[in-house]
């Protein structure tokens, strides 16, 4: 009986020692998360197959990206346009330069030219066009968002379907990577931008995963609005490194922030000893990775993302349920596979082309 009680006490103590949400074997769990995202992506159908050509016949889609001066949007729109061409419906990109009046003109154009779908893409928040989108819906248009919300976020009331991105999943991968690379002792500086809609759940996912993997480990969040990246990321990172020389990993959630993080590391003499990992797979950051200035970048093929976004828009028109998340795998680029991203790197190399065949079959094009 005493042995039984003792065993029960030991077991209870062990359970109590692992805080709620913490991993029993954190290192193994973190490595398992990373392994899932190191493999060459395979196509996983986001829903049932449907005859896209017949239900999209004669339909018109107009997409307004947040700005066509951002390479990410240019590539995403290119892929969406290619996918629409394959299916055979009209797809128009409303070219603009991050100006509200241009977005409003785009909505008016969609209404007057009798488009069926109005898509707001690549970070354009439908809340900024509330009255215009309400008018568009009254005129019979369906409204979609592409690559804006995190999978945990709800769409605005003016939106019918959304292609949500797994920022939360990317956050877990980043936390796991920092954990593994620091031998289970991460002291992390997370750099976020709360003015970008999905940033809050993205940062929270990193913080929660770090806490779960290592409850006693230190982490700090530096919040810098997008308009201040050039003037505040570098001094903010420098100050954080000087205030806490124990910081051993920096996670700039959007990888383009790295161009301001790396100078901070250089100037404080921490380049090489402090790791950097981010999300987006932006070509110049992949180039920095190849040069050894950045350690890891989670990429998503924009060719793949474009097809997945068109898939969700067509599902709306064809009466199919909305997909839970944009069907784009997240791939880890590090020193082992960076050569596959191209020299110089681009938005599409390194991911394979499983999506082309996959979507064609899903849409019954072949």
């Amino acid at each position: 009986m005493r042995v039984l009680l003792l065993s029960a006490f030991v077991a209870a103590s062990a359970i109590a020692a692992v805080p709620s949400g913490a991993h029993a074997d954190a290192m193994a769990d973190a490595k398992a998360i990373l392994e899932q995202h190191k493999k060459m992506p395979v196509f996983d159908p986001p829903g049932e197959a449907f005859d896209a050509k017949s239900c999209m016949a004669g339909k018109k889609v107009l997409s307004i990206p947040i700005s066509m001066t951002i390479p990410f949007n240019v590539e995403l729109q290119k892929a969406m346009s290619t996918a629409a061409k394959e299916v055979g419906f009209t797809y128009t990109t409303w070219d603009n330069q991050l100006k509200t009046d241009q977005w409003i003109q785009g909505v008016s154009q969609a209404i007057s030219q009798k488009y069926d779908v109005l898509d707001v893409a690549g970070g354009l928040n439908p809340e900024w066009l509330g009255p215009q989108l309400t008018e568009a819906r009254s005129a019979g248009l369906k409204v979609t968002t592409t690559h804006l919300y995190d999978v945990t976020q709800k769409s605005a009331p003016t939106v019918d379907y959304s292609s949500r991105v797994d920022f939360t999943g990317a956050g877990k991968v980043l936390a796991a990577y920092a954990y593994v690379q620091t031998g289970g002792k991460p002291n992390v500086l997370i750099i976020g931008s709360s003015d970008v809609l999905p940033s809050i759940p993205f940062v929270k996912a990193i913080q929660d995963e770090l806490k779960a993997l290592c409850p006693e480990c230190k982490q700090k969040h530096l919040d810098v609005p997008v308009s201040d990246w050039a003037t505040k990321i570098q001094p903010g990172t420098q100050s954080a490194l000087l205030a806490d020389p124990g910081i051993n990993y920096i996670i700039p959630i959007y990888d383009s922030m790295s161009q301001f993080v790396v100078p901070a590391l250089r100037i404080t003499g921490a380049l090489g000893s402090v790791g950097v990992a981010g999300f987006n797979g932006t070509p110049f950051v992949l180039d920095m990775l190849r040069e050894g200035q950045v350690n890891m970048d989670i990429g998503e093929s924009l060719g793949w993302a474009g097809y997945a976004a068109i898939d969700n828009i067509m599902r709306m028109i064809c009466g199919k349920p909305e997909v839970a998340k944009l069907n784009v795998p997240l791939l880890i680029f590090d020193k082992d596979n960076i050569k596959t991203a191209g020299v110089p790197a681009n938005f599409n190399d390194g991911y394979g082309d499983a999506h082309l065949d996959g979507f064609r079959k899903l849409w019954k094009l072949k």
Binding site: D228, A230, P235, A240, A243, Q259, P263, I267, G269, F284
Partner: protein, 336 residues
């Protein structure tokens, strides 16, 4: 022209009598405020804030902003605004990105090219301002926006990484007493501008032109040539700031450098409240940049949010200029 009102000229003896404690207090108030911040944050965070590493980091990382500020105070002194300074900085950086990182040209000719491009844009500003007699605010805003378009076109809206490590080494990795070399370039430039403004005939002409164009013209100063030179020098120095920016980041970004325009103007106006109050001056600009960055660094080290930095930046600018005005018995500002 930025002149709002001409102060009444006092006789030399009256000016001498004004050399009082009050005048000196005004000259060095910002320096005192800077020292106060250092002591305050030093007491709060003695280990981290007072480390040499912290100061070397602050000095090195703000060199780009110091140089850009030094560039724009030249036309400000002659009574003109140059709102294209940050665009020239970004263009110079992009010239390095395209020609050095993408096309593989050796770094030295590319640096010469980027300086030449900066001077050329300054000359274009001068041409439109002086030939067509358009206000510098309008011309430099227009030319700056045009240049921004050219930058987006030539870069394909992409950030270009892979700038020569030689440049990175000359700017940030090379150090003297632990401080990146960029800081010394900025300091040397400030000393040259200070000397030119105080002790050379062209520098004094620049000041006279800013104080009163018609009076200068009547005294035989070639006003248009002086103003043209100030625009070209501003373009040249802004391009130099772009070189430092590329060396600092090791890349060229088509947009981010543009955000330095307002901080540069803030530093120029704050700098005009110290050392030589009421006049844009080189060391005043240097001190104001480091006063602001000291406050921001201290706040960030203490874990302040981003908005607190804005409160400090904006608040410090308005309060410092207002206090300076109180000391001057609220005389009308005559920045030139």
């Amino acid at each position: 022209m930025t002149t709002i009102d001409m102060p009444i000229q006092k006789p030399v003896s009256a000016l001498r009598s004004r050399f009082t404690l009050k005048t000196e207090a005004e000259r060095f108030a910002l320096v005192a405020a800077w020292l106060f911040l250092i002591i305050l944050f030093g007491i709060l965070m003695p280990d981290s804030f007072l480390s040499w590493r912290n100061f070397s980091t602050m000095f090195g990382s703000q060199a780009v902003l110091v140089v850009l500020t030094l560039g724009i105070i030249i036309p400000l002194t002659s009574g003109d605004f140059d709102l294209s300074g940050a665009s020239i900085l970004t263009m110079s950086s992009m010239v390095i990105g395209v020609f050095n990182a993408q096309m593989g040209w050796p770094i030295l000719p590319v640096l010469v090219l980027s300086l030449a491009v900066g001077a050329l844009i300054g000359a274009i500003n001068a041409f439109f301002v002086l030939y067509f007699r358009i206000h510098s605010l309008i011309v430099t805003l227009g030319v700056g926006t045009f240049v921004n378009g050219v930058i987006l076109w030539m870069s394909g809206s992409q950030t270009i990484s892979g700038v020569s490590m030689e440049l990175v080494s000359w700017v940030i990795m090379g150090r003297l007493w632990g401080i990146p070399l960029a800081f010394y370039y900025a300091l040397i430039l400030a000393a040259v501008i200070w000397y030119a403004f105080e002790f050379t005939i062209p520098g004094r002409k620049l000041l006279f032109v800013g104080r009163g164009r018609e009076v200068s013209r009547l005294n035989g100063i070639p006003v248009e040539r002086v103003r043209a030179t100030s625009f070209i020098l501003s373009g040249l120095i802004s391009a130099f700031a772009g070189i430092l920016y590329s060396g600092m980041t090791g890349s060229a970004d088509p947009l981010s450098g543009l955000n330095l325009l307002l901080p540069a103007f803030a530093a120029a106006f704050l700098g005009a409240t110290t050392i030589a109050p009421g006049r844009f001056n080189a060391f005043g600009a240097v001190i104001s940049v480091y006063f602001l960055v000291t406050g921001i660094t201290g706040l960030t080290m203490m874990g302040a949010h981003a908005y607190v930095q804005n409160l400090f930046y904006g608040g410090a600018l308005v309060i410092a200029v207002s206090l300076s005005q109180l000391v001057r018995n609220r005389q009308p500002q005559d920045f030139s």
